[in-house]
Amino acid sequence: MSLLRLSSVRAGYGGLQALRGVSLHASEGEITALLGANGAGKTTVLNAVCGLVPIAGGDVFFAGERVTGYPTERLVRMGLAQVPEGGKVFGELSVRDNLLLGAYSRRGRSSRAEVRDDLEEMCRMFPVLREASSRRGDTLSGGEQQMLAIARALMSRPRLLLLDEPSIGLAPMAAAEVLRQVAALRELGTTVLLVEQNVAAALQIADRGYVLEVGQVVLEGTAAELLASRDVRRAYLGRDYEGI
Amino acid sequence: MSDQTPKEPGVTGTDAPEESSAFVRAVEERGAANVGLAGAGLTPTSRSKGHQTAASKALASPWFALAVAVVALALPYINSQAYTLRIATDALIFIMLAVGLNIVVGYCGLLDLGYAAFFAIGAYTAGFLATAKGMPMWATIPFVILAAVAGGIIIGGPTLRLRSDYLAIVTLGFGEIIRITANNLDVTGGPNGLFGIPDFGEFGLRADVAIYWTTAVVVILAVIASSRLGRGRLGRAWRFVREDEDAAEAMGIHTYKVKLAAYITGAIFGGLAGVLFAVHQTAISPPSFNFLWSALILMAVVLGGMGSTPGVVVGALVISLLPELLRGAENWRYFIFGVLLIIVMIFRPQGIWPYTPTEQAVKKSLFGRFKGGGSGNTAGTTTEEVAR
């Protein structure tokens, strides 16, 4: 069953149309990868889903409800969370405050105690955050900041997590660690829509994937199908991956 | 301390409401308005809201400017009554202040909330040298320019390196510093100010006619100068800085120097207007230079259209002659001014009469070739709003 469905969504910035009729879906409990070159419109898809970019046409459905044009904070309350590119950790706030901000939308429906439990849970999942709890966000390393950003997003107990290039700019070790954590999210039952530059790594943890080109979906399929696809291999994986 | 503190909230409060400003009050107290001069610019402006391009095209033409200048110079032949000339002289001085502030706010995008300070510096420098030192009025002008430049450097020097909003509030403070200083010092005559300020000479004419003509010539030259400055090499750099400071910096414009140049040029215009004011009033005192004054000049610039010389001239005429139509309702007037500032900024930030650069000017500035003056802002085909 699909938790998120986009049907012929068109969106753009000013006169520029970045999405030209994108249709895709993300199934409950799965990791769906969104692949494509720079400027293909991957981030715009995430922002259109979140209500950060106005939708010019088409519809977005989330959990069976038509959510086109909903304000971001309402979508977050419904269970949508995005980790923007680079994490966008609040550098001047403590790690703990960052995490608590993630739980901002949980007011009526969950008590303080639950938030405190989740805080504990995040510190268990990402031990580095426990040690850094009272440090400022900008004192963390790049990989740690990305962990914090993911943990912060999870604090809203999202049903769907949108991840924008979680491994970009990180050292190979840190990038691998972050992606390992993303793969672990599936075990928690969180649905993930993952935008990732590193196609091979993304398809290794994803269940299904879409390839975007100039604002349109040009290819879709299971991760295995995409990995096997000649087009994907030629365009994104290069010759080194011929043998996979 | 405790015996002085009760004065605290009334520092501006006690003098400002009654003596809004000698100039403004003087304008208000005078007889019936001579709307003839203002009418020339007024009627088309209010209509131009809808189809500004056509109106701007016609009215921004050099011929129209020439016609206005001729009317201004010929006024004493049309109506030489003393009150007509007084109002007209006031309006002319106000125009000079507005085009001067337009260089700072309109061209360069720097908010100066203490412009009256330079006006005061000019008036007091000229007044002091002429009355205490017996200098002829024309000889004070170099000193006035020096004083204005010095003031501009003292205030602009440190603040223009910072974010633009700092300048706004620092100039606001500077305006107060100058006014309070004038009020406290002996050389400036304290609260009584200076009086018996001589004029430039009578040239065998009636005194007020001579003052009017001197003022008219100076102001017309100032308007032309500011308009040409805006269209020249420096003017384009100013607009660049206003539109996008980072881009300007990236294109090799030394933004700090360019901003300081705008601020100092504005200061000189203000100082010279102060000389005209001192001559015209023959007596000056601190309340003439309060914040209200700075705010009214700003109002003229914003209402007319920041960066547009014809717009600012019309704005200045409206602001200086409006009191004649709304006599005895100062509070309403200022209240409406405030509301109008908000409305204009929200619904028509380019002002009633926006600046319309020629296609050529836009291209030139885009390619960074800051050469020549161009043919003036006559075509009105590309507004900056469109370009943005």
Binding site: C50, E73, L101 | Q4, I180
Partner: protein, 301 residues
Amino acid sequence: MDYFLQLVLNGLFVGAFYALVALGYTMVYGIIKLLNFAHGDIYMVGGFVGFTMLTAASGAMGAKGGLLLLIVVMVLAMLTTGTLGLIIERIAYRPLRGAPRLSILITAVGASFALEYGIALAYGPNPRAYPVGMGTGSFNVFGVRISTGQLVMVVIAVILMIALDTLVRRTRSGRAMRAISQDPRACLLMGVNVDSVIARTFFLGSALAGAAGVMAGAYYGKIDFLMGFIIGLKAFTAAVIGGIGNIRGAVLGAIVLGLLESFGTAWLGSQWRDVFAFGFLILFLTVRPTGLLGERVTERV
């Protein structure tokens, strides 16, 4: 020595008063980088709202208005000016979010003008005498004279400041405020309704200014429609000294400014007090534009 101590105390007293106004300035600046010129005028409106309520109350209760009445009126005036802050933000500032900085600054000047002359229209341009004072008693401590009014003012100001600091540091709203000042867009992704948090910031800042307005009326005994002008400038100076956008910095800056003024006045005479303060502002911007507690580079953020 006594004289020195007296100057220090006077400086602290004036500083506490500036701090209440400076806090609103610095909060609004911190969150949306707007110099709210109308802030000083909100303080003035607070004075007039208190005046109206106290006049009505002392008419009903006879001449004996106690400190309790004053505090009740102050709270009501805070609610009123807070709401006024909300309205101004909604009408004058929110439509211009994202517009060039110059436009918003000019709008702020317009709002300031509209408030000043709106009050002049409603109450007349002449100063009004406050119907209730803070008591005229005074007592001596270590040879220093402190009036009851001063003491009450400082106590109220300190309580309000501690409350604000707690709110900003410990609560959900406060956390959102601090986060918005860094990255409003990322805040949207946290499910924060940024507009409503900005509105809350205006409410808080304006309420504090309103409290200061009532206190000024009760302490100085009279109010007029331009009384916010100089205070607004002083509050800005205080905020800059402390590092604009920094809440504790605003309090520190206000105290520093109060002390400077106190000593400056003793040295140069009271007619130079404002010149001294603004001259110091210019000097401070030249030497240390980030302020005492500011750490971010202020140049074109």
